[in-house]
């Protein structure tokens, strides 16, 4: 199956600055592919090249097998682009904004009206559709900004940090819409610098910094690259030596800190797995009141890969 998006060795050089330094990846139909990276990583520059706004210094972009360099109009027809900065006509209503974008893609009459109504409902702006957008809250504008990229029902949707600067509730709304889009069989490229978003949303993701992909894969695969295992914390009426002995009997389970009534253990990556480790402890006759399992997160991975925090 041809991937919906295939990016090969993409470079962009601005003067002395290499903003994108050899990025390659591909995204399959219905996937949400994440681009996770800090400010200035090259996310927007990459998106601009993928949607034909910026000519790459080097490299190739194929959308459903079509090259953006050879057939820009053909590719642009397949794309929905949602820019990082909200760009809407403030004096027009949400409906007029959507009608305008639909009109550009050749929708008209009843088909346009129905599509616009559907979208307004989907992004939850149907009750405010006639109001000038300048009256909208930040979150509402963001939703409209998103909807405007979807009017023509594109195959591939490029979302550049669509939730930046809005409250958690509004963010959830947008994430739900994105999930819905993917569930409808559309493909999404999603850039963000929020880890939680990337983890929650993306089927696969690339961690990028300084214009390069540092790691790529599913969330689980990426975590696996951490090398460490899960952190297991148990509490109960046991004595420290009892837990230490029980843990010692399970291969691949390393005690980190054990005191009376409480223990922290790491289940190694190549070890028995969390459930086997736990059953090993149960078999030793221990009983616990409380068990927590903490997965390593992408923050740790990012720190690991780049030596710095994801957020400034």
């Amino acid at each position: 199956m041809t991937p919906v998006l295939e990016v090969r060795d993409l470079h962009k050089v601005f003067g002395d600055l290499t903003a994108v330094d050899g990025i390659s990846f591909s995204v399959n139909e219905g996937e949400i592919y994440g681009f996770l990276g800090p400010n200035g990583a090259g996310k927007t520059t990459s998106i601009s090249m993928i949607c034909g706004l910026l000519p790459p210094t080097e490299g190739e972009v194929l959308v459903m097998g079509l090259s953006i360099a050879e057939d820009p109009r053909g590719v642009k027809r397949l794309l929905g682009v949602v820019p990082q900065e909200v760009a809407v006509y403030e004096e027009l209503s949400a409906r007029m904004n959507l009608e305008f974008w639909g009109g550009i893609y050749g929708l008209k009459g009843k088909a346009l009206r129905e599509r616009v109504n559907g979208l307004l409902a989907q992004v939850g702006l149907d009750d405010r559709a006639a109001e000038p957008v300048k009256n909208f809250s930040g979150g509402m504008k963001r939703r409209l900004n998103l909807a405007m990229g979807l009017v023509h029902d594109p195959q591939l949707i490029l979302l550049d940090e669509p939730t930046v600067g809005i409250d958690p509730q509004a963010r959830h709304k947008i994430l739900d819409i994105v999930k819905q889009i993917a569930a409808d069989g559309r493909t999404v490229l999603y850039t963000t610098h929020y880890l939680e978003e990337a983890e929650d949303l993306c089927d696969r993701l690339a961690i990028i910094d300084h214009g390069s992909i540092l790691a790529e894969g599913t969330v689980a695969e990426l975590k696996a690259k951490l090398g460490e295992g899960s952190l297991l914390t148990v509490q109960g009426g046991f004595k420290a030596p009892e837990l230490a002995a029980a843990a010692g009997a399970v291969a691949g389970l390393q005690p980190v800190e054990i005191i009376d009534g409480r223990g922290m253990l790491v289940v190694g990556r190549d070890g028995p797995g969390v459930s086997n480790a736990l059953s090993g402890l149960f078999q030793a006759g221990l009983a616990f009141d409380d068990i927590t399992i903490k997965e390593p997160n992408l923050e740790d991975l990012f720190l690991n890969l780049t030596g710095r925090e994801l957020r400034d």
Partner: protein
Amino acid sequence: MWPLILKDLRRRLRRPASTLVMVAFPLLMSLALGSVFGGGGANDRFPPIHILVENQDPDGFLANALVNALGSPRSGDFIQAEAVGDEGRSMMEKGKASALVVIPEGFSQALLDSRPTVIHIVRNPSEGIKPEIVVLGSELVATYLDQGSRLLGGELGQIKELVDARQIPPAAKVGAVAARITERLSGARDYLFPPLVGIASAKEAEPEGANSSTGGGVFGYVLMMTTVMALLFVAVRSVGDLFEEQNSGMLRRQLATPMPVARIIAAKFLFSVVLGLLVMAILATTGLALGWLDVPAAPGAAILLGLVFNLAACGVVAVIMGLSGNEKQAGIMSWLIVMGMSALGGSMVPLQQLPAAMRGLADYTLNYWAIDGFSQVMFEGAGMGDVAGNLAVLAGTGLLLSVLANALLVRRFRKVAP
């Protein structure tokens, strides 16, 4: 193409202030200049308005220009302005004038900074209007002022510099015109609009046939010549909208669609022409309703002239914008060129009254070809054939410049910063 034009028309409709200014400007100019140049007998309808002006911003360049404009011989019989100090209010109480205009301290700076400012007008109670202090912060005027300073926006500051530097002589003229416009937009409105209403009612009472063949005479002529200038400003605004769309990220968004850049620009042109025709239609209708204009023998020729002139106006403005280094420069350059063409081409002073030396330059302005054509069609009963030359010049220039402008603007707007 149509969705683009529709979108721009809707945007203009939702934010009509700037367009209203374009419409108001020729009407106000006609009233002011029409009365200066004699008014074609209609002068009797306007008793002179005696106003007092208290300038609390004596160091402000705009305030001074405004005072000069009010007190200049040009304002002539129609407005008799007298500069006063703080005795103005007591003079008003004695009924010495129709109104007292108080220009507040810091007025010029506020306009330059696009900050809100309020001109106070004290009305004369004995003139039949309730005694009250009218604060010119009423919604309409506030909009005018706001739009006026926004319209002239950054340019005002530039013009101030030009004036202060006293390097380029025409610049002083430009400054005065800027002030005139500011005046129209702000102080003038309150005493100019009531007479407007007055004309309409006075006309109803007039017996049939009186002086009807000459129409409004000078009023109609001034309306026509200033409308031509207003249409150039419509083009500046409309074509300049490309910069606004660039700044707001809308252009970038449009470039990410399959639409070619050339179409986006062509649509902006068409929108500008359509809006120009609308403004022209509104002004023509108003002129007809006020009796300033008569329906011409060849209305088709008038409409066609309007069409080709609007096209040429967009072309010239767009070429300037295409050649300018940046947005600011584009704004100033197009503004200066529009002003220059208007001054030389008969939009500010009737062609017949221009000195001979300047008269020769008029041929190089779009205003001249339009005004010459319109005056033949509107006032001399000329037909399509009589103005064929004007039509050809304007259409030819319009097409040529549009093609050139399109190429320049495509080059300019194709590239977007990521």
